[in-house]
Amino acid sequence: MVEVRSAAATNVRQNLAFYGAVALLVALYLVYNMLHPRGFSAAVLIQNSNESVAIVFLAMAQTVPVLLGGLDLSVGAIMTLANCIASEVVHGSPLQIVLGMILTLASGTAFGLVNGLIVVYGRLQPIIATLATGAVAVGLALFIRPVPGGNVDDDISWALTNDLYEFVATYGFFNADAAWFQPVAWIPVPLLIVVVIAFGVWLPFKRTVTGRTIYAVGSAEGAAYMSGLPINRAKIAAFTLAGFFAACAGLYLAIQTSSGNADITQAGAYTLNSIAAVVVGGTSLLGGVGGAIGSLVGALILRVISFYFRIVSIDPLLQPLVEGLVLLVAVSLGAFRTLRVKNQLNLFR
């Protein structure tokens, strides 16, 4: 027992930033529901989840290159590309829909792989390589969809953006009114998708040697090399995984809006917000510390803050200002580390 407790204490101490973010999110969301006229209702939860999925996936995408010590400026663009591809292919027979979704995710993943190959074998810095490939991705998206629109299957749109009850009822898997199903019927499908991908993809990946190498490279690349770790493989995998998560975001956006839109401004804004979410979620921009689950929480925090503007009578024009202040506070908490450094030269290493 004592051992379990001390292991838990170690875990909390090592992940203070993460648990702090979780506590902040819980507090913010509770207060939000109290202030909301229809607070604590399924409708509010579903709406909020729908509006959060894309940025959550994008924040997770950004996390992986950041853990390496780099930045991926193309995640928003890959999301936009996937969004446009999905708006062309996610319709028709159920088999066609599934194939269309796989094709969408595969294209985003492939684009991430190309990013990784360019960074490793082109020996470019991630930030500039992805700035260029991001522009390419938006260009491709515009080519696929010069004007907003498209055709996404209505049933899947409806089923994936509501609660589990509607999901089951739409496709008639079983009687959605069955008594045993009721305790979970209220859960929003978007929330479930995020949880399944986050815990089903990220957590196992973190436990592979490749995943751990990403942390090692971000923390001390020299030590990683001296330990004989597969550095190139880890870098390529990091960008590939980022591409996959970004494609998840794009696919969901298409399903949610029933359309595709090659919006350059939106791609850029999403990319910058993903960086903010990563930082708020406790991942260090220097690399080596943090994780995608933290970024998930960070993205939700940023979203909840923006929800407040709908129910509190503040001028919505103040929204960017408040978000900026929150970000500053969050980031300065991370700067306490520098107070402990004894050799000031080490601050620059």
């Binding site: 592979t208 751990r212 923390s219 004989g228 080596g288 004894k342 050799n343 000031q344």
Partner: protein, 514 residues
């Protein structure tokens, strides 16, 4: 003798780095079930030898055989696969990962392709128990551990790879005495299991206690291998020196008593400086000797305001001198300059022009209000270049286009431009040509003659002998010998550096001076 069936054998191995030789035609072998000590001065080629064995560097010529088979490692992984495991001097641990993650970093136990954390945790505990580090929690992050504990984790990591040849490069330097005993016991166990250990250490008594065989290296060459006890300590020190002084040094003035300028008392920092007492007179050149990493660098950084949490007293002319940053240290109140160890990262901004680099520390002198006065800047640059005779085509060239010697001159000129009274030099002649070295020696003497106070750390003993009025030799964060006048000999410095008492005690009479 044990050499009948060597586990590792090097034949004619050479390695050159841009013109300088690090190893030259080295033949070396070691046998299973022995502990083999490797001795040599700074730059004797020990590190290069280890790096070749462990796959970090590839030899230019010669062959490496492991267990009778010729091998050529191009990465550290390949060396580990052949059973050669090295515990590096610069730790190879990843600070943000846990102890267990680090121990099994390259080949963790796996279940269904994923890392089996439970098994990893258990095996980490077993390994830590084997080196009596039960108090280290496998879940704690490496960056939370003390230096000594980190070093023990490094040893556990090496053990986890089941080595046939274990290389310990100064692996005991950071350990507490209790841990050192544990490592001794471990090495004896490994010897009984038939593992060959290569043991590099600067602590003579350790080598004496542990090793069966000793090899001495000097100037990149293998000098001799012999069984322990075949030579006395004094003879070993002679084997390690054995070279002539080739450079020419400016004549030293007759020693005259000089009033104290800088006075250091009981200076301590983070276990790396353990109570330094030293006084330097105005116009005096004092050398800092000793092997690399005994606290010399920290002493210079501490005086220059880089370290936080210093304890003890430092005074210039009886006024307390404790700058909180280099900016304060170079200011008018203290007038300190530091020529740093690594000119490529700390001395120069490599991508900027020669002129910008020269002016970097003394913008205060060439500005009118907030603006840089172009005419004053040009004049200052011209003077700086002329004073040190830096060979440049144009001051606007990028500084990285210069040769190493001229780059170093730029660093020195940059600091002289601030007109300092106390000049700290951290190995200023490392890696530069003989001609430039002699110019720098001459310059240092001229500066002293003009009343500047100089503290010079050098890894080259000959330089300390040739340049310095007095020499303080450091060992493990302390000054173990102060030599002056004729007592500054290579033997005395080497003996003091190893902290062994050959002739050092006799000649260290100069210690009373400061």
């Amino acid at each position: 003798m044990p050499n009948d069936n060597p586990i590792v054998q090097l034949t004619g191995v050479s390695k050159h780095f841009s013109g300088t030789r690090a190893l030259e035609g080295v033949d070396f072998s070691c046998s299973p079930g022995t502990i083999h000590g490797i001795l040599g001065e700074n730059g004797a080629g020990k590190s290069t030898l280890i790096k070749i064995l462990s796959g970090v560097l590839q030899p230019d010529a010669g062959t490496v055989q492991v267990g009778g088979k010729t091998v050529r490692f191009s990465t550290p992984e390949q060396a580990v696969a052949s059973g050669i495991v090295c515990i590096f001097q610069e730790l190879s641990l990843v600070p943000d990962l846990s102890v267990a993650d680090n121990i099994f970093i390259a080949a963790p136990p796996r279940k269904f392709g994923l890392i089996d954390r439970r098994a990893q945790h258990r095996r980490a505990e077993e390994l830590l128990a084997r080196i009596k580090c039960e108090d280290v929690d496998p879940n704690s992050l490496v960056r939370e551990l003390s230096l000594s504990r980190r070093q023990m984790v490094e040893i556990a990591k090496a053990l986890g790879k089941n080595p046939k040849v274990l290389i310990l490069d100064e692996a005991t330097s950071a350990l507490t005495s209790r841990d050192v005993e544990t490592v001794y016991g471990l090495l004896a166990d490994l010897r009984a299991d038939g593992v060959a250990s290569l043991f590099i250490s600067h602590r003579m008594h350790e080598i004496d206690k542990l090793c069966d065989m000793l090899s001495v290296f000097r100037n990149g060459q293998h000098i001799e291998t012999f069984a322990k006890g075949a030579h006395s300590e004094g003879e070993i020190v002679k084997l390690m020196i054995g070279r002539e002084v080739t450079a020419h040094y400016p004549p030293k003035p007759a020693p005259t008593p000089k009033p104290d300028y800088l006075k250091i008392e009981k200076l301590a920092w983070e276990g790396q400086l353990k109570g330094i007492d030293l006084s330097i007179g105005k116009g005096e050149i004092v050398g800092l000797g000793g092997l690399d990493g005994q606290g010399q660098k920290e002493l210079l950084l501490g005086l220059f305001g880089v370290l936080r949490g210093l304890q003890g007293e430092v005074a210039i002319l009886d006024r307390a001198c404790r700058p909180s940053s280099p900016a304060e240290a170079k200011g008018d109140a203290m007038r300190i300059a530091l020529v740093p160890e690594d000119r490529k990262t700390e001395g120069l901004m490599l991508a900027m022009s020669i002129a910008d680099n020269l002016l970097a520390a003394s913008f205060g002198r060439i500005t009118d209000g907030p603006f840089i006065n172009g005419e004053k800047a040009r004049q200052a640059v011209t003077e700086g270049i002329a004073k040190l005779q830096i060979k440049v085509a144009s001051p606007d060239d990028i500084v990285s286009t210069l040769s190493g010697g001229n780059q170093q001159k730029v660093v020195i000129a940059k600091w002289l431009m601030t007109d300092p009274d106390l000049i700290l030099l951290n190995d200023p002649t490392r890696g530069i040509d003989v001609g430039t070295k002699q110019e720098i020696y001459k310059l240092i003497r001229e500066l002293a003659d003009r009343g500047k106070t100089i503290l010079l750390y050098s890894s080259d003993y000959a330089e300390l002998i040739g340049c310095c009025d007095r020499v303080a030799v450091m060992y493990d964060g302390e000054i173990v010998a102060k030599l002056s006048g004729d007592a500054i000999t290579e033997e005395a410095i080497v003996a003091a550096s190893l902290n062994v008492g050959t002739q050092a005690h006799v000649t260290a009479s100069g210690a009373h001076h400061g």
